[in-house]
């Protein structure tokens, strides 16, 4: 960047040098890098630099005060975090959130998308309604569900009472609370994931379907042998994105509905690290937790890429 700057500013004096530079930089083999440059610079400055800084802080004990010395503690923060109960509960829940998200947020939208796609323009109302939760602020959604599920005269309870039944206090019990939050986060995102699949379906050439139909293929055969393979790039994308974002996505409902309880039943690594960094201000723990979160997501993603990418069909 600096090199380019000096070259252009002294252009008048060194015209031949500039021409040489232009020839060198204008060559075809540099073209892809020009396209990539803005993204790389932005990511470097605002994602990787802060991350490197975070990795550095994870090895220290410091309180952010510019006038106080920073103490290098090596891997102590990591050892201390992983050694305690809160981390173990958060890790267990994180894995459940990720595992539970795959059938609910990745697979369930596929049949819904195929069905809506088969309806053509007639599916407009369905598409719009199931997309609405994606638009709403998650704060509002969390507050409303808290009302709905209130064990003291909440809507669900009063509705069940009409039939002489009682609605369980789902947020009062650790396992039920976790699945409640998982279901609410599914409810929130399902419309968008369906839309992604519909966008994937939209690029399927209908001639193929007609051809298969003429050959006597039924619904199932078309789904199995044409639509599913052609949806695999989208599915792959939704899978990776869901795994990466699922534990961040439940942040707001956890924060508003349970604060991680009962008995650490709904907390996850993201929420725990957030608390370290922004509720109790332990800079070293917050940073170490962020690094661990990154490593976990990277590992899960790499496993998925290894296992799945070769099953993805990119050609029609």
């Amino acid at each position: 960047m600096t090199a380019v700057g000096t070259a252009t500013s002294s252009a008048g004096a060194h015209a031949p040098a500039l021409a040489r530079l232009r020839r060198a930089l204008g060559g075809r083999r540099f073209v892809p890098y020009y396209y990539l440059a803005p993204m790389v610079v932005l990511l470097g400055l605002f994602t990787y630099w802060p991350f490197v800084h975070t990795v550095y802080l994870s090895l220290t004990e410091w309180n952010l005060r510019p006038d106080t010395p920073l103490e290098f503690v090596g891997a102590a923060n990591f050892a201390e975090i992983t050694g305690n109960r809160l981390f173990q509960d958060a890790l267990r829940n994180t894995l459940i959130y990720i595992a539970g998200s795959i059938p609910l947020k990745v697979l369930l939208p596929i049949p819904i998308a195929v069905f809506l796609w088969s309806l053509g323009p007639g599916g407009q109302v369905y598409r719009s309604v199931i997309f609405l939760p994606t638009l709403l602020s998650f704060v509002v959604v969390s507050v409303v569900f808290l009302w709905l599920l209130n064990p003291i005269g909440g809507h669900a309870q009063q509705f069940f009472a009409l039939f002489g039944l009682s609605f369980p206090n789902v947020l009062g019990q650790p396992t039920a609370a976790l699945w409640t939050i998982l279901l609410i986060s599914t409810w929130k995102i399902i419309g968008f994931n369906t839309l992604l699949y519909i966008a994937g379906l939209a690029s399927i050439n209908r001639d193929y379907i007609e051809a298969m139909r003429i050959d006597g293929a039924g619904d199932w055969a078309v789904l199995r042998h044409l639509i599913w393979p052609l949806l695999t790039p989208t599915t792959f994308f939704v899978l990776i994105a869901t795994v990466i974002f699922s534990i961040q996505q439940v942040f707001t409902p956890i924060d508003i509905m349970t604060e991680g309880g009962p008995a650490n039943g709904t907390t996850n690594l993201f929420y725990m690290v957030y608390q370290y960094a922004f509720v109790v201000f332990n800079v070293g723990y917050g940073a170490a937790g962020t690094v661990m979160l990154f490593v976990l997501l990277l590992a899960v993603t790499l496993i998925k890429v290894r296992l799945l990418d070769r099953h993805v069909h990119y050609d029609q």
């Binding site: 083999r29 892809p32 396209y35 990539l36 803005p38 993204m39 932005l42 990511l43 605002f46 994602t47 802060p50 991350f51 975070t54 049949p111 819904i112 069905f115 809506l116 796609w117 088969s118 053509g120 407009q124 369905y126 598409r127 719009s128 309604v129 199931i130 997309f131 609405l132 994606t134 638009l135 709403l136 602020s137 509002v140 959604v141 507050v143 809507h155 399902i190 968008f192 839309l195 992604l196 519909i198 966008a199 994937g200 690029s203 209908r206 790039p233 989208t234 994308f237 990776i240 961040q248 942040f251 690290v273 957030y274 979160l293 997501l297 990277l298 993603t301 990119y314 050609d315 029609q316």
Partner: protein, 272 residues
């Protein structure tokens, strides 16, 4: 393509149930926006004495027009930038084989796994250092790179027949013109879906804009409206009213762009 009758019955049943699960909470949220303060907690989803008080409070107690302008301006610029950079990046990855391609792609993808909310403090200090504090720049520039978008577009690019690139080249269009004239039009469904989610994501963002703004003049709707959730006193009426209003632009964007997704679909349907 039409599904057979039993599939259709199952499909409609599930979709109707899903829609019901969406509409009930939505009714409660919108109903609460019209409730007077002594009905907010009542079990009835709709008000018995409907009032516009909550909306009035939004406009009198907060500079709502300024919040809206900041939200619209920063979201618009940011999403435009995010789309542009994502398209350029994904195009380069899909089109050329070049030294370092795998490494660079891994770096872009790896950035998705760095939880932004948790690395806010170093970015905050950088933004303060750059003197961007309390300006649109702070809201827009640190968030312009969207690896998620690059990944989505690359997945779509990869299912493009290579001939599209080659055909454009033979026609004499350079890589730059080919991108805009040939490649982008074929990406419309994916771009439309991406625009929708980027818009909603930016529009609903809370922690970052809160951290880097000090004054109502530079704050966004989400930050402004959440002020009604206070310690010991949650003004849910105003909260629901404000966030209902705040959802309307997102709704408009959704309707406009989902048509782009569907138009393509209908067009290819006619073609087939």
């Amino acid at each position: 393509m039409r599904l057979s009758a039993p599939w259709r019955v199952v499909g409609h049943t599930i979709l109707l149930a899903l829609c019901l699960s969406v509409l009930v909470p939505l009714l409660i949220a919108v109903g609460t926006a019209f409730k007077p303060s002594n009905e907010v907690y009542s079990i009835l989803p709709w008000p018995t004495a409907p009032t516009l008080d909550n909306f009035v409070r939004i406009f009198t107690d907060t500079p709502f027009a300024i919040y809206t302008w900041n939200s619209v301006g920063t979201t618009g610029l940011r999403v435009a930038g995010q789309l542009l950079f994502a398209v350029l990046t994904a195009y380069a990855f899909a089109r050329w084989d070049f030294p370092g391609r795998e490494l660079l792609f891994a770096l872009v993808l790896g950035a998705m796994m760095i939880p932004h909310q948790l690395t806010m403090i170093p970015i905050y200090i950088l933004v303060a250092e750059l003197q961007w504090f309390d300006t649109w720049r702070a809201l827009i520039i640190p968030n312009l790179a969207m690896p998620f978008g690059v990944f989505l577009l690359r997945q779509h690019f990869r299912s493009f027949p290579k001939e599209i690139f080659d055909a454009a080249e033979i026609d004499g269009a350079g890589h730059w013109r080919a991108l805009w004239l040939v490649v982008l039009p074929n990406l419309r469904p994916a771009l439309a879906a991406l625009t929708i989610i980027l818009f909603i994501d930016t529009w609903n963002e809370y922690f970052w804009p809160l951290l880097v703004t000090d004054t109502p003049e530079s704050r966004t709707i989400q930050v402004g409206i959440r002020q009604f959730l206070e310690e010991d006193f949650d003004d849910y009426g105003a909260l629901m009213a404000g966030l209902t209003l705040a959802s309307l632009p997102a709704l408009a964007i959704f309707f406009f762009f989902q048509r782009q997704v569907m138009d393509t679909f209908v067009a290819s349907g006619i073609k087939g």
